[in-house]
Amino acid sequence: MSKETIQIPQGSIKRTVISWLLLIALSVMSIYMGLFIQNKSLFIISVLFIVFLKGQQIIDIFMELYHAPKKWRLLFLSYVVLLPLIICLVYLF
């Protein structure tokens, strides 16, 4: 596999901090979302979409797969896309 060389992203620690805060905010949002979304289907879709958002942050920022070869990054991102999607389909149909 050929190696690509890229510049270090500016403020990578800052990005990690922002990701952490975003993850916590999304976690709090998901647990209280039921207070604002009465439609059960929309609620399930929203919660599972938040799962995708949080998973993407962990994969790209914490695991730093953003800098990994594309096929590995897409493989792990597909997990947090497909699994919530499958669960969503189970609940909705």
């Binding site: 510049q7 620690i13 993850l23 709090v28 920022i61 800098h67 990994a68 590995w72 699994l83 499958i86």
Partner: protein, 193 residues
């Protein structure tokens, strides 16, 4: 995690060990089967699952989520420290990550004991069978993750890692992030939806 070269550029390569990534993929697959099985079983027994979820403590689940996310955060910071060849700082950050992870363990054990006091256990019904099985299996992964973190922290404190020899550290950190990622799926599935 990326490999930092001496001129400050990042080589676009898979961080850590390839074997660890295949292990992570295997673990993710097993848990995916559990999660889908949970959702399917819930659809077949909606009333049982609704009653079961009412016995749980969503606030405890949220606190556990915040604990694991924060623990992962400190592990991510430890890798930044390793990129700067600061092994002792990395070890301290992992130590903080582990202290935060203990919060998760304490809350989880409290949850279990409170359910046991209500007479609810793994044999109560399908919901609680799946609840205890999935969460306990995840707890075991948390404990293994803490052993791995301890190992890499000790090695980091002895400066046995450096910019050119960091894959073991990255692999350990990746495993911990996997444990966190599993919980962020588990938490809404079992406590929220």
């Amino acid at each position: 995690m990326s490999t930092l070269t001496s001129n400050g550029l990042i080589e676009k390569k898979l961080p850590g060990d390839l074997a660890m990534w295949f292990f992570i993929l295997a673990e993710l697959t097993v848990f995916a089967i559990f999660f889908i099985g949970f959702a399917v079983t819930e659809q077949l027994n909606p009333e049982m699952f609704r009653e079961g979820k009412n016995q749980l403590h969503p606030t405890a689940g949220l606190l556990n989520t915040i604990a694991l996310i924060t623990s992962s955060f400190f592990v991510a910071l430890s890798l930044h420290a390793m990129h700067a060849n600061k092994g002792k700082k990395a070890a301290i950050l992992i130590g903080i990550a582990q202290v935060v992870a203990v919060i998760y363990i304490v809350i989880k054990l409290w949850e279990y004991s409170s359910l046991f006091e209500l007479g609810l256990d793994i044999e109560t019904n399908s919901f609680f069978t799946l609840y205890f099985m999935i969460t306990f299996f995840h707890l075991m992964h948390v404990l293994l993750g803490m052993v791995i973190l301890t190992y890499i922290a000790i090695r980091a404190s002895k400066n046995e890692y450096n910019v050119d020899n960091i894959s073991g550290f990255e692999a350990g950190a990746s495993y911990w992030h996997m444990v966190d990622m599993l919980w962020i799926i588990l938490f809404p599935l079992i406590y929220v939806i």
